[in-house]
Symmetry: C2
Subunit: 314 residues, 2 copies
């Protein structure tokens, strides 16, 4: 479909977009009415909303519309998984200038569709309006399947801290792009299109995770939220992190510390959770530290200072 | 609280905003985690999302932040009510420039809070980011209480068409403001702050409404959606509309036809529904027409042409 949002109009575009994206198996009533109806068999629904603004959260010269769609869906679906819930549906809002090519919006929705397909979710509804800049709002819904939500506040001294998914890959990819390079592709791809370990979220809840969140701002920063909410200290061990040889190579080439990417890089949407010691964790979980009495987050015994950045580390 | 969004930062602002707005009785887990948990006792959740863009949907010189908040909440809560559901919670996204006064955002949330209070709903979560223009995304959730959703597609020949709430008040208010006036205040207030008849939505479902929607684009335009989705014709009778004397006065003063405001004005968020003939309607419902075989919407037998505007009318 050629033309711009201005040519097609908002009603025309929303029709073309919703046709493009299946509602999935959890949406008994999809777009086209005043509201959609989404299954919530648990009797509670997990809900989260995020905004993505061009220039802040993505750049059209660095990411295709398809990648922006995948990433936008991924970060919200990961938030649902981080509660221990199974994602069911997204609602999408798109603000775009009149000169935005319709093809860009269609590709964005292709990305949303394909990321939703990974977790068997669908797009239940949305809105499109014209505005001066591109902005995407995403609301994700999910089902707890009878389990309590896994919040940030349940970590207890003695728990182990474990990570599922990738850490530092998106940050390495961003560093590569920022230096004007396009390779190694694995990191650039990870920056453009994170692969959150969705299934690990409900699995962690079943394993008895005491606290969980998705790593969106950086492991240490996000664990700081968990430590604060739980009233505990999180002690990480640098040696427990597995830094791939290729990431070390990129660090050397760019004069950067790859452990910094792993500990402070956001956007990979790994899941980090705490479990009672002795929990038989599956292979997708890597133990990287433990929970103790106290406050804050340490790495190899050194405290991370918070807002001021790395005081004693890196 | 003084200062701007740039002074306070996004994290600071989201904290100040969420403190300001109660989560309400339907939100067992509110803001502060990766996602909120909202009660969905029916086992399905009604969900709808809308975007409001400054300059398109509101003007800061015509409406206070408080009024924008009330209106933004109202239009989404009305969408939930139009499905026959009871609203439970909102999720809010706010994009604003760095120079946006924090006070503006706080007042916006006061408006959201007060409109939510009308229906005993709360704000379950949200996101705040900086961007070049003010944009608000709202997702509203609701509960069907065991009833089937009332869609747009169930109207049948022989049904009556009935309206609950106000029609034409917002359009009259907009006309007054557009002419540089501020009075009569009742219409200007109705434009700034619609009062949807929320309770009439679930009540209509209980009465056996066959189809329903909220009037957001204008009665004839919205009934066009209903007629198309149901495969029927909607025949309205102009004499059945009760046009207040004060609205007639404003029409005369501005050289406008008040029936045009009533039939084509949006944003009052009245509810329009179809019921089997003989349904004992309560006083809040006013019958304004009937459903017949055919297609389209007529007023006193004349067809409304759709996009071209009034061909045979007004």
């Amino acid at each position: 479909m050629s033309g711009t949002l201005g040519d097609l109009g908002e009603f025309g575009l929303i029709g073309a977009l919703t046709e493009r994206v299946p509602v999935g198996p959890h949406v008994p009533l999809g777009p086209g009415d005043d509201a959609a109806v989404v299954a919530a068999p648990d009797g509670r629904v997990v809900a989260t909303t995020d905004l993505l603004v061009e220039g802040r959260h993505f750049r059209r010269d660095w990411s295709t519309a398809y990648d922006v769609g995948r990433k936008a869906a991924a970060q919200n679906l990961a938030d649902v998984a981080a509660m221990g819930a199974r994602p069911t549906a997204l609602l999408i809002g798109l603000v775009g200038p009149a000169e935005l090519p319709v093809a860009w919006a269609l590709e964005l929705y292709d990305g949303l569709r394909d990321e939703c397909a990974v977790v068997d979710a669908g797009v239940a509804g949305g809105d499109v309006v014209r505005g001066s800049a591109i902005m995407i709002s995403i609301t994700a819904l999910g089902d707890l399947e009878g389990r309590p939500p896994v919040t940030r506040s349940g970590a207890r001294p003695g728990d182990v801290v474990a990570v599922a998914g990738w850490l530092g890959w998106s940050a390495a990819g961003l560093a590569i792009l920022s230096h004007g390079h396009r390779n190694p592709r694995a990191f650039v791809e990870a920056h453009r299109r994170p692969e959150p370990p969705y299934a690990a979220g409900p699995a962690a809840a079943k394993l008895g995770a005491t606290a969980m969140l998705d790593v969106s701002d950086g492991l240490i920063s996000d664990l700081g939220h968990l430590a604060r909410a739980s009233g505990v200290r999180v002690e990480l061990s640098g040696e427990l992190f597995d830094i791939p040889a290729q990431m070390r190579d990129v660090g050397r080439a760019l004069g950067a510390d790859p452990l910094q990417w792993v500990l402070t890089g956001g956007e990979d949407h790994a899941l980090v959770a705490t479990f009672p010691a002795g929990t038989p964790l599956t292979a997708r979980w890597r133990v990287v530290g433990r929970v103790t009495e106290g406050r804050g987050v340490t790495v190899d015994g050194e405290e991370w200072s918070g807002t001021g950045g790395w005081d004693h580390f890196g």
